[in-house]
Amino acid sequence: MVIDRYPAEIEAIFAKYPDKRSAVLPVLYLAQENYGHINQEAISDVAGLLDLDPTQVLSIAGFYTLFHEEPVGKYVLEICSDLPCALRGADELVESACRKLGIEKDGTTEDGMFTVKTVMCLAACDKAPMLQVNLRYEENLDEQKLDALIERLRKDDADGIAPNYGVEAFKESLKR
């Protein structure tokens, strides 16, 4: 259960807010790290912790794009496909990533290593095209750089990018 793995983090999250319900997004991040995606157990864990109905938690998880309701690969390549990135070749980059990995958009490779998604603007348009992989930004991309990134990730050798890379930073922030 989420509470067994992150007791200190959950205590620190609850301490931030006058109303426990405010903890729903932060606790969902922890649940996603624990289960890999937001599955039924994740929903029921979060609902139990926050005294919410599971359907309320499910609707909240579904509202936000960073929560995955289906299993995803170890590395989730979320390529910005909005206009500023698209003016600099983002659509071609999405095609190239899918072709290289042999998957459709939103698909996951058979070895469970990669998922490719498109996302809305990530506020890095001066370094377009770009993507985030497990919440880390990779900017000023082209096909060659994307290929090189995929190769490094395949060997789990990408300058510290790990599963739940961004969530590690979030957990770090809870240590005051």
């Binding site: 109303d19 405010s22 903890a23 729903v24 909240i60 500023p84 003016l87 809305m120 919440l135 930073a169």
Partner: protein
């Protein structure tokens, strides 16, 4: 002129408390605490006419002045949900000049009598916000936060909160709903957040860049600030340049510079790459109407683009060269708004859905002659009918491209 907001470009290491302090940092807060009653701080901000930098342009001092004077819990919420296409200015401030944002929020908290500040980061900023998180730790360690700040009677805490990917949470009441753990959907107003905001308490919500303007105004006074920019638009503005531009990035400029200078000036965008010609400009990401060459001499200010049928907004300039299919560009923006529509009100939910469908039909080569009128009709039925500005934003790319580039639509009709 030295930089006022992007000070980290002039002063290395200003994200650290010691460096920030050694360069006048927290002097604005100290001055406010020692020399001014809370009401005087609001007056200074009102006189300086700092207007909202998130896009709406509402005067910050007026917003602060709406907060009731009675005792009781009040909140300052910093809007760091930066998600408008083409906008990346707040991220730079958060990552490289965090103390100025913290100080601005604290001055606001002192002025309105709040004892807690929240900052709402979009979830994708978890990594970028690490500097901000460590700045908060340093501020606590140096008595700039917590109990009896700098030896005064003022006590204030600062909490960070992370969203999880939803543009609508940048709308201030949707942000409050999201922060309260609910679906990020806008509230019906009134009541306005100044009376019933976070947890039902009086709340000021300001954009990151807006608050970064506050400390220098307290130090230098409103007249200093009014001397920068134009009569109605005082102060500096961070402009985000992206798209087909030689030198993309953030540029801090005094309000009043022309769009032409920003795009073609050597110090700024430095023109269009690959020898291509300028075609069109989105002056505020996806949310304000597109402008063409004839409007480029307009001044960048809250009033400058009004007679050209557009808006300053967040000053996120997306430049497009002559190769761009404007129907495709409008489709990209409409798709964005359809994806980000929260679903609460019918005109936006249905309107963005159908606009998106019609664009897909046009671009798949199956456009019908009636589609052009249909786009216009759907868009016009949304204007003024939606709960928040998102639905109205979605109509901007549609109507402005229809106005300036109708022939590109007719080229896509197959029957």
């Amino acid at each position: 002129m030295s930089l006022i907001l992007l000070r980290h470009r002039d002063i290395k290491g200003i994200h650290q408390f010691d460096v920030y302090s050694a360069n006048g940092g927290y002097d604005g807060l100290k001055k406010a605490l020692r020399e001014h009653a809370p009401g005087e701080v609001i007056d200074i901000v009102r006189k300086s006419n700092i207007r909202g930098r998130g896009g709406a342009g509402f005067p910050a001092g007026v917003k602060w002045g709406f907060i009731p004077k009675a005792d009781g819990p009040k909140y300052v919420v910093v809007n760091a949900d930066e998600s408008e296409a083409g906008t990346f200015k707040d991220r730079e401030l958060i990552e490289f000049n965090p103390h100025q944002v913290i100080e601005g929020a604290l001055i606001c908290a002192y002025a309105i009598g709040a004892q807690a500040c929240f900052i709402y980061f979009r979830g994708e900023f978890m990594h970028a916000a690490r500097t901000f998180e460590s700045a908060l730790r340093e501020a606590y360690a140096n008595n700039a936060l917590g109990s009896n700040i700098f030896g005064s009677d003022f006590t204030c805490d600062f909490y960070t909160h992370y969203g999880a990917g939803a543009y609508i949470c940048g709308e201030e009441t949707a942000l409050l709903e999201s922060l309260e753990g609910k679906l990020g959907q806008p509230r019906i107003r009134p009541p306005f957040p100044a009376l019933e905001g976070l947890y039902g308490k009086p709340t000021v919500i300001n954009n990151v860049e807006t608050l970064a303007n506050v400390p220098p105004v307290i130090i230098n006074g409103p007249d200093w600030y009014l001397d920068i920019g134009t009569e109605k638009s005082s102060g500096p503005k961070i402009v985000c340049l992206s798209g087909h531009i030689n030198n993309p990035g953030n540029f801090e400029v005094p309000m009043g510079i022309t769009y032409r200078e920003l795009i073609f000036g050597e110090r700024y965008g430095n023109g269009i790459p690959n020898g291509m010609k300028f075609k069109a400009l989105l002056p505020s990401g996806g949310s304000a109407p597109i402008i063409v060459e004839a409007s480029l001499d307009a001044h960048l200010s809250y009033e400058g683009l009004m007679e050209h049928g557009s808006l300053l907004g967040s000053a996120s300039l997306i430049v497009m060269d002559e190769s761009v299919d404007m129907v495709w560009a409008a489709m990209k923006l409409v798709h964005f708004f359809n994806h980000e529509s929260c679903g609460k009100c019918t005109p936006c939910r249905e309107g963005t859905f159908w606009l998106d469908r019609i664009y897909r039909r046009l671009l798949s080569g199956k456009g019908r002659e009636s589609d052009v009128k249909l786009l216009e009709s759907v868009a016009k039925q949304m204007i003024g009918e939606t709960l928040c500005a998102l639905g109205e934003f979605a109509t901007s790319p549609v109507l402005s491209t229809l106005k300036h580039f109708p022939e590109e639509y007719y080229d896509k009709i197959s029957d």
